[in-house]
């Protein structure tokens, strides 16, 4: 049987960091996409732009910080506390997963994005998000950055997988 959970592309950030990581020309032959990431940056924002589109994003998020749980709404393609920043324990990276079902469909795209930001202190974060990209285009590219002029740090990694239903 053909492989049905396939690595499409992967990026590991080198010395000096990078402004963004982009997966382009995503094959349209899978059913769903799964992105796994391990990230660090001087700032804790993480943005994912789909097809270079910067509008049409909405989200509802649930976050715990070790003291309380809270919930937020978002209308931009980014959220805070998804990446370990430089004020957190050194050499510790966030871990997360984004799952996009039916990414080639001609409907709006519902996807989930989860992240854990660990820290050897009283504050750390777990974030789960429900996202909607109100755009009917098939997803052909994904771009990750910090939504600022700050780089993603060296040794961060992002991997894109494709999952086939048959």
């Amino acid at each position: 049987m053909a492989n049905t959970f396939v690595k499409i592309a992967s990026a590991t950030v080198g010395s000096g960091g990078v402004a963004s990581v982009t997966f382009s020309s995503i094959p349209q032959t899978f059913t769903d996409l799964k992105i796994l990431f391990s990230l660090r940056s001087p700032i804790d924002f993480l943005a994912m732009n789909i097809n270079s589109v910067t509008t049409g994003y909405t989200a509802r998020l649930l976050q715990g910080n070790g003291a309380a749980a809270s919930s937020y709404q978002q209308v931009q393609p980014w959220h805070a506390n998804m990446t370990n920043n430089n004020s957190f324990t050194a050499n510790v990276f966030s871990n997360g997963e984004i799952y996009i079902p039916n990414y080639t469909s001609g409907t709006f795209k519902s996807y989930s994005a989860d992240s854990v930001v660990e820290n050897n202190a009283s504050t750390a974060y777990i974030t789960i998000g429900a996202w909607l990209f109100s755009n009917t285009a098939a997803i052909t590219s994904l771009m990750f950055d910090t939504q600022t002029a700050v780089n993603i740090s060296q040794f961060s990694s992002i991997t894109l997988y494709g999952i086939k239903k048959n």
């Binding site: 049905t4 989200a59 998020l61 919930s71 519902s110 998000g129 429900a130």
Partner: protein
Amino acid sequence: MATTYEPIATQTANGSSSFHDFSSIPATYTDLVIIIGGSVGDSGPFLRFNSDSSALYSHTRLFGNGTSAGSGRFLRGAGAPNDTRMEIGLGSLSEIVTNIYHIMNYADTTTHKTILCRGSQAGVNGAYLAAGLYGSTNAISAIRLGNTNSNPYSSGTVMTLYGIKAA
């Protein structure tokens, strides 16, 4: 390399069926994963295993709707219909959702079954996690997907069952 994450079956809703069944599930995997992308037609999406409507289902859920965080629980013994099916996941009449279910050790005949759910619905209900327990030692060979009011899933909603092998 042997394939260890395999699609077992997939269905695309036609907009008129109240239920969607996966049956004759092979017992050759370790865990099952169900991915639902689309509209599940109503709130209260549920799974029922092996056509079993006994009071054997319970779960704990955590959710954030963009305004507040909350938690809830259905106990066994809470009374029908709450404990006669695994009512976990997010849904509404027409909004697109992503519901991902992990059914651990589904073919084991010595333990009860744990189900993990991750739900996403950006429009209203938000982000959702749940852990459920099906209090039966029977291997799971069939799964029915439905919702509270038996409304049909929207046409084009895709439901796929995957098997994961430990080795």
